[in-house]
Amino acid sequence: MRYLIRRLGFYLLAAWAALTLNFFLPRLMPGDPATALFARFRGRLGPEAMQALRETFGLTEASLVSQYLTYLGSVFRGDLGISIAYFPSPVADVIGTGLVWTIFLAGTALVVSFTIGTLLGIVAAWWRRGWVDNVLPSSLVFLGAFPYFWLAMVALYILGFSLGWFPLGHAYGDDLTPGFTAVFLADVVRHAALPVGTVVLATLGGWLLSMRNTMIAVLGSDYVNLARAKGLQPSRVVLRYAARNALLPSVTGFGMALGFVLGGSLLTEIVFSYPGEGYLLVQAVRNQDFPLMQGIFLVITLAVLGANWLVDLVYLWLDPRTRDSVS
């Protein structure tokens, strides 16, 4: 318990550091950021937008300390300023919609890839030199060696463009209104199939190999041999004794991948014009939408921290040794 609180304290500290960095970065830009920004947007932005920008950065006449406090206050209220690219939507709202799609897309891809890869790893290790073990690891690693961008483009070209089996982009058809209807959900799944499928294909090999290799080591351990000697059913030996232990390193990997879900799906979202966080980031850069960029960076940082904390929790639950060494 003490350990968890200590870890939580650490993450809070890290989050605070990220917030502070986020506050100071624009102020570290050469010259006066306000003037620079205003100059850049003069003529293109109305006075309300200017005002919004000014408020976002807290670039008022107040002292740095009071600016900082104002900034912290608005972040805690979920107020990240007004987006320029999507004027006049608040950054929080823009990020919010993108977040939902990214978490759905990359989260699904990660969970599917992790689950299938881990299961295949167990199978490959258990039936060592069986066909799964002979064929899958090498071919998946081969696939994973291609640049993801290229793989995604090829899939999009052949399956989407030439054969027309899948839509070419976006999260759902333009003619549908979002809602929890069967038609809409089915369309969302159809749109997600290619992006999720390509990510799964590109990352499956890693999960498979990692699980397979740990599993092979664990299968040679004394406790697995003892489990066999006890006359247990093979399924129990494999799952409860071998896989349960071999899973631990993969869980760490899963946690790290979870942290990179938000930042890591950039390429996927660009190729498939998917309205997620990565796509927003590109839009933000293209339009020099600094409030949006800042907001996205902040959310990504917090997501990494949150995912790490989650892994801490899961690990405590999975490995009794960590429970004792830390209490």
Partner: protein, 319 residues
Amino acid sequence: MTKPLLDIRDLCVDYVTPHGPVRAVDRVSLEVKPGEILGIAGESGSGKTTLAQALLRILPPPAVISGGEVWFEGSDILALDEPELRAMRWRRMSMVFQSAMDALNPVVTIGEQIVDTLRAHGGSTPRSARARAGELLETVGIPRDRIDGYAHQLSGGMRQRVGIALALALEPALIILDEPITALDVIVEREILEQIRVLQRRLGFAVLFITHDLARMLQVSDRVAVFYAARLAEVAPAAALRRAPRHPYTQGLLRAFPTVHPGGEEPESIPGSPPSLRNPPPGCRFHPRCDRAVDKCRELTPELRPLGAGHFGACHLAE
């Protein structure tokens, strides 16, 4: 004469390596009678663990059983299929592993590891299995409330006891103890041996007791088999072996353990080291270290032959 419980005939086990097979058990024939304690002594690497694992058919790759028969309670273990093996394992023959440190699953409670064994062999409810697990822990001197603990929370000695509790769980006819005491200090060692003996007298199981501590073994065992480089050098009742060892290797081993002869001469280790199994010497494998070796020893492999009441030796020079 009582029918043997376990009858090993010409058993051979090879480790198949890229450089050719390494024979770790070479034409070993042994019997264990019901309720008997048979000690197996031998230096590190002589093939004791390999033999034990062959009996339960749990040899890890690349080991393969390349010959012989193992008769146990009326069936040849080497001919059993997987379901038959599962039924035999632990219910009729169990084992305490050499490395108590690594033999328990680190992420599953001790209780569950006993309970799953009981339940795998049927006839117990979760509740009764748990009660029995607590009982077993108490039998070996571990407080019942440790049942929900994990291996890492126990000392080496306690883990060894959990291993023994586990081996007793189904009251098998034969328990293999693979160096159950090597990792322990003298006091714990004595306690555990005492406990095993008490339990053995009460429950009447037979024991295959593996160790390289010959002195300790002679105190505990009814009969002793001495291994040298994958082969049997001598098999004899413990008393006979202590009084009149016939194989020069056994004689050397006894001289190396001063406790066998209290107040006797200084311990004196056998010169040289055991041969590599990859490339063993021809003839008698002990001849390079034997001060009485003659030409015959260098050329001809000595077979295990009777040398008196229940006494067998594989030495050309023994009468």
